[in-house]
Symmetry: C2
Subunit: 406 residues, 2 copies
């Protein structure tokens, strides 16, 4: 089908989401029957406002640098469309823009909320008989998307976390005095990121304890664990997911444990700071909390080559399958059996939309304070490979797009 | 002079202090008149306790990996020797160990406290007529050592900070909503690290405001600065040194500003968290604090090649000059005029001992909220060059020493 295409980015960024952008844009620019390639500013918000960039106006070298540029270069959003049966005003606007620009291909790169957006738009277009092929491209550092073995973005974040934890481990053994260090990763509902800290054991620098949101957190048990490790070796390195919660579902980072600990959580710092304060008070030892914060999702200088290539491939595959006639699907990454290999396939958008893939309980040890060999076997292939760093003046050379509005 | 040598590491680690270790150990092992090469565990503490490793027992390939291994591989300490005129017990122990092992060369790698230790030992040996050549090798991420243009360790920390700030900048522009981000660097008394955040402007990703300990901090002025930038572009990226203090000398990170802000600092998180809380309360906008913490001093994966090579060279130079007869000196790095080049020289240990080199006031702008072109010209050459990353399984391959005790 001949017509133009719109590509947009949505949700939290990753180190490699722009690599998917490059895969889509490059393939679409090269496709004979795609007449114009538009990038929407800030996801679906740019579509709604008709704020579209002409991707053909960009220098090809600058576009190629997207593969090494963190963040969402076109801008992102966290905008949820209402079901069109309830309120179709947004859909009418989107349809209007698409008709005006003869958009027949729509590629949306995001997480489970974004797949929900994609699915709704796809169904709406069907309902009004507007022919447009809609394909979702997965991304999330959290790796919690259903319908795909893993999500582009996860491997690079995992590599950043494992490398940083390995380096912090080395730092922790500098002095012969006791110390506890608590490293906080992202992962609000799933422990894929926290678990990746265990990969540092391949550098001979494993954390001692890891806590994931999949297992209810018990403060007394945590204190017991830390104390046991510390008594054994005068050091303790802990990785913890920001999303750990008590058995009642309340987040540890937000709970007021002053009743039990005499320790009022202030609205300062994150979970690492909260846990550090409690360990300091209850065990009376030197503790340091390190929150990896945004660094873990924008650390493109340490991106996994495997991840960068898969993210690019997912973008290429999306365009190729749309040209073949596919629509209403999400690109899925499948792990070939045996030696690691990744194949692309399509899954219904609804498989991913609004679902969350957790770390299987059996990939976490019985005590709920570390991951198993199965977890390591799953995650290790995803962090392989070093990208050639593109630098200028010793600093990252990011893509510089002109962003010409149409 | 024929005899054995002792090498030891002291003070906080850097990404490249082990590169200096490699320079010393390799050169000493190759030197005909150095009979044994000992590495002391945990700095002067290992010397005092006679805990010495035989460096000749190490595999040469593993030793070479020290150039890419963060932290102080032999262990470090923060131990201050009393003046021997007041209390010579430690000195008698050191002399006893040195005599027993026929130690005639002593290399101590550290910051200003360590140069003080070195100077005292050197003077004591002179006073008792024990012939031993004592050379200090500079290191510190803080770059506050006097008697040297810059210190090994600073360039890599600066590169880590500038790269991370550039990546965080990209992340900050993902959403079209307003946000303020405050990145906290180390640097208790000098702003060299905070200032290095400005290098991110060469990635097109400069922070908006930088606060250094050299200028008295004014909270109202800070709030005004942030508000001005934010009103202009709905974003504000701030870099701040952990050591900023009010005009009365009290650290902002420790001050209780509840009287003026209704905001009581809890013992949670660091300065970034404290300032974030205040900005949130006084301006009412979304703020995120990021503390670079240990990551900035152990991030060997992002080490500056220039820094790694200079650290190695400083170790080599120390041994060569000691073999020539030098003693009671610190290795000094000198900047050749014109195009950047580094030459080594010797300075009296006393030049560095217990002094602190601050950022010149004229390298900070009049408003005290950014650095000048002179600062950038000074720091930029030090972050140049990418090291070939030595990895295994996608993770850093650190040196694995046997550490055979003698």
């Amino acid at each position: 089908m001949t017509g133009s295409c719109v590509f947009a980015q949505s949700g939290g960024p990753t180190a490699v989401i722009n690599s998917s952008a490059y895969g889509v844009i490059k393939t679409a620019l090269d496709a004979g029957c795609i007449t114009r390639v538009y990038g929407a500013a800030n996801g679906i918000i740019g579509v709604l406002g008709g704020k579209l960039y002409d991707m053909a106006a960009e220098d090809p070298y600058e576009l190629s640098l997207l593969a090494h540029t963190p963040s969402s270069e076109l801008g992102s959003c966290r905008y949820k469309l209402k079901p069109y049966e309830q309120d179709d005003r947004d859909y009418i606007k989107i349809l209007d823009v698409f008709k005006r620009r003869d958009v027949r291909y729509f590629f949306y790169n995001g997480g489970n909320d974004s797949m929900d957006t994609c699915a709704k738009i796809s169904r709406y277009f069907n309902s009004v008989g507007y022919e447009c092929r809609v394909i979702g491209i997965p991304k999330t550092i959290d790796n919690d998307l259903c319908g795909t073995d893993h999500s582009p973005g996860y491997g690079s974040a995992a590599k950043y976390i494992a490398t940083s934890v390995a380096e912090v481990y080395k730092d922790n053994y500098v002095y012969d005095t006791g110390s506890v260090t608590i490293v906080e990763t992202m992962g609000r509902h799933a422990g894929w990121l926290a678990g990746s800290a265990a990969l540092a054991e391949l550098s001979g620098a494993a954390p001692d304890l890891i806590y994931l949101p999949e297992v209810a957190f018990d403060m007394d048990r945590f204190i017991y664990d830390v104390k046991s490790v510390y008594n054994d070796r005068q050091k303790c390195l802990v990785a913890v997911s920001e999303g750990i919660c008590y058995s009642d579902g309340s987040f540890v980072s937000e709970a007021d444990v002053s009743a039990t600990d005499g320790f009022k959580h202030a609205q300062l710092g994150g979970l690492a700071a909260v846990l550090s304060g409690i360990v300091k008070q209850r065990i009376g030892i030197k503790v340091r909390g390190i929150e990896l914060s945004l660094l873990q999702r924008c650390g493109a200088h340490l991106a996994s080559k495997t991840d960068v290539e898969e993210a690019f491939g997912a973008g290429v595959f999306a365009v190729e399958r749309a040209l073949d006639g596919a629509s209403g699907k999400m690109v899925s990454l499948r792990r070939a059996p045996g030696r690691y290999g990744c194949e692309f396939a399509l899954e219904p958008l609804e498989t991913a939309a609004n679902n969350e893939k957790k770390v299987p309980r059996e990939w976490i040890n019985a005590d709920g304070n570390y991951v198993t060999r199965e977890f390591l076997d799953y995650a290790l292939p995803l962090i392989q490979g070093e990208c050639a760093r593109v630098t200028e003046n010793g600093l990252p050379r990011f893509a510089r797009l002109k962003k010409v509005l149409v």
